[in-house]
């Protein structure tokens, strides 16, 4: 299935600055594989130190997170805490 | 390391004379951390707190005698001292927490010879004398003669401070002490200022002693500020001169606690404020009889 993807601005190197793209996959991991085909190098960018926000939920380790039709996936840097 | 607790001055003198690595021990708020951090240990710690004379506080018609190891908590609780030397008592109360107040003493504060110590400026302002015991017997010197530099005193090996003597202040006389610290408590003076003034019946200053702490290797007496004050009422223009003179005499260093410029300026500010407080106190009706209520 195809989902809308938004990259936070620090992750847009491989897309030449494009923020909003589309990709497909039933999980976030599969989505990243697809995005890496479209934008070589984006896979590495999105696989380490990156979280996603889906339906308002921040998901820190999203690789196997299931994607439903029509969702938008926001890739954001991973936060930390004290 | 041995621990010894003599009960007389003579016994303490003997102990200190018998071993070169003996150390006097009272509050030891600095000594114990040094030992624990692995510094060489003294061979014997001579605890002076079991000598009654060193812990006693006594007063007479004319004077006070305060044991060198009397806890500052006791000084602050002594009604006679509180009335006669409110500034000196304030200075005493500022040494550390309640916990430290039960260990710190004028003797320790003076013998450590820290330029930032709180009580020496007030002790000097009140013309205190110290009795020092040692192998050669006892001698009495002005309190300003004890510390001669950071960590250095004029006392010989084997000597220790036994007690402080303070004359009862004359009528219409009072002192004050102020210090600047970043925190309200648990801190070391960045600048300290003590003032003692005597007023005449018209409110003019007849005698003044103004001293500064933490702005030079030892307590500094602000003679020009005293001169500016004597013969005058402590009005604004006079106080301006006091402030300027106190700033001018300060000779501080830059260090982790403050800068030269800051210490110099604040020395003047605190000296001025201390003079104002001392003069207000001196003018209180009950001071007419010279510190006795």
């Amino acid at each position: 299935m195809t989902v809308r993807v938004h990259l936070s601005s620090n992750l847009r190197g491989p897309t030449d600055g494009i923020a909003d793209i589309k990709g497909s996959g039933t999980t976030v991991g599969a989505l990243i594989d697809d995005l890496d085909h479209q934008y070589p190098g984006l896979g590495d960018t999105l696989r380490s130190g990156v979280s996603v926000v889906i339906d308002g939920l921040l998901i820190a380790h999203p690789q196997y997170h299931q994607l439903n039709d029509g969702v938008q996936v926001f890739f954001v840097p991973q936060s930390a805490g004290g | 390391m041995r621990y010894a607790s003599p009960t007389t001055v003579a016994e303490a003198v003997d102990l200190l004379g018998s071993e070169p690595q003996a150390r006097v021990y009272a509050g030891a708020t600095d000594l114990i951390p040094q030992i624990r951090s692995g510094r060489p240990e003294p061979t014997v710690m001579v605890d002076l707190k079991h000598i009654a004379r060193l812990c006693a506080i006594a007063d007479s018609e004319t004077s006070f005698t305060v044991g060198a190891a009397a806890p500052t908590a006791d000084v602050c609780a002594h009604a006679g001292l509180v009335v006669a030397f409110p500034g000196l008592v304030e200075a005493s109360s500022l040494i550390g927490s309640d916990q430290i107040q039960n260990r710190s003493s004028w003797g320790g504060n003076l013998a450590n010879a820290s330029p930032a110590a709180d009580t020496p400026p007030s002790l000097v302002a009140n013309h205190a004398r110290v009795v020092i015991a040692g192998p050669g017997g006892e001698r009495t010197v002005g309190v300003e003669e004890v510390a001669i530099g950071p960590g250095q005193t004029s006392m010989s090996p084997g000597e220790f401070i036994v007690e402080f003597e303070l004359d009862r202040p004359p009528a219409r006389t009072a002192d004050a002490y102020l210090r600047m610290t970043p925190r309200t408590e648990m801190d070391i003076a960045v600048v300290g200022a003590a003032a003692r003034v005597t007023l005449d019946a018209e409110g003019r200053v007849t005698e003044a002693t103004i001293t500064l702490g933490a702005v030079a290797p030892t307590v500094v007496r602000a003679a020009d500020a005293e001169t500016a004050l004597v013969g005058n009422e402590p009005a604004d223009d006079v106080l301006d001169r006091v402030e300027a003179a106190a700033s001018a005499v300060a000779d501080p260093i830059d260090d982790k606690r403050g800068t030269v410029a800051y210490r110099r300026k604040v020395a003047g500010v605190l000296a001025r404020r201390a003079v104002v407080i001392a003069a207000q106190r001196a003018a209180e009706p009950q001071r007419g009889r010279g510190g006795q209520q």
């Binding site: - | 390391m1 607790s5 908590a73 430290i100």
Partner: protein, 163 residues
């Protein structure tokens, strides 16, 4: 090196222990006597977590030689409660959430008891200055100060009837 033999009273019990001449009362309490309620936060008298009362005086036990305790009466946090009966300060600290991590709590309780023994009805300012020798990094002191004042009320009202 021969050790110093000390006989004293701790929390009402006669205690004997051996210590080194340079050993602090804090280390002796913790390592020789087995009372670990007093903590070491700094070792320089700046944090108050090692507070004990010796012969009626509140002290930082990290700045006292153990040998000095000879013949003395020492009170630590372990002796504050009367059996299962908590001291009003302990009760108020619990109810008032005056502790978070709890490492400073023994020192605060001892210092607060010494404060109330000396000044049974302190103002907020007096409590704050009276406890200035005890550092707490968790609470911002608010609930500690309130709990001490609550305990003072309780004790003064006789509802916290306790030794």
């Amino acid at each position: 090196m021969s050790r110093v033999h000390v006989t004293c009273t701790i929390n009402g019990d006669p205690v004997e222990f051996l210590c080194d001449g340079g050993q602090t009362l804090l280390d002796a309490l913790r390592d020789e006597v087995g009372l670990t309620g007093a903590k070491e936060g700094c070792g320089t008298g700046d944090c108050g977590t090692c507070s004990v009362v010796m012969d009626g005086r509140l002290l930082c036990s990290c700045l006292v030689l153990a040998a000095e305790a000879e013949g003395s009466i020492v009170s630590t946090v372990e002796g504050m409660a009367d059996g299962d009966d908590l001291h009003p300060l302990q009760q108020c600290f619990l109810e008032g959430a005056a502790l978070q991590c709890g490492i400073c709590t023994p020192g605060f309780l001892i210092a607060a008891k010494a404060l109330l023994d000396r000044n049974p009805d302190p103002t907020e300012t007096e409590v704050r200055y009276g406890l200035a020798g005890n550092l707490c990094r968790c609470t911002g002191y608010d609930k500690i100060v309130r709990s001490v004042m609550d305990a003072a009320k309780k004790i003064n009202a006789g509802t916290g009837d306790h030794h």
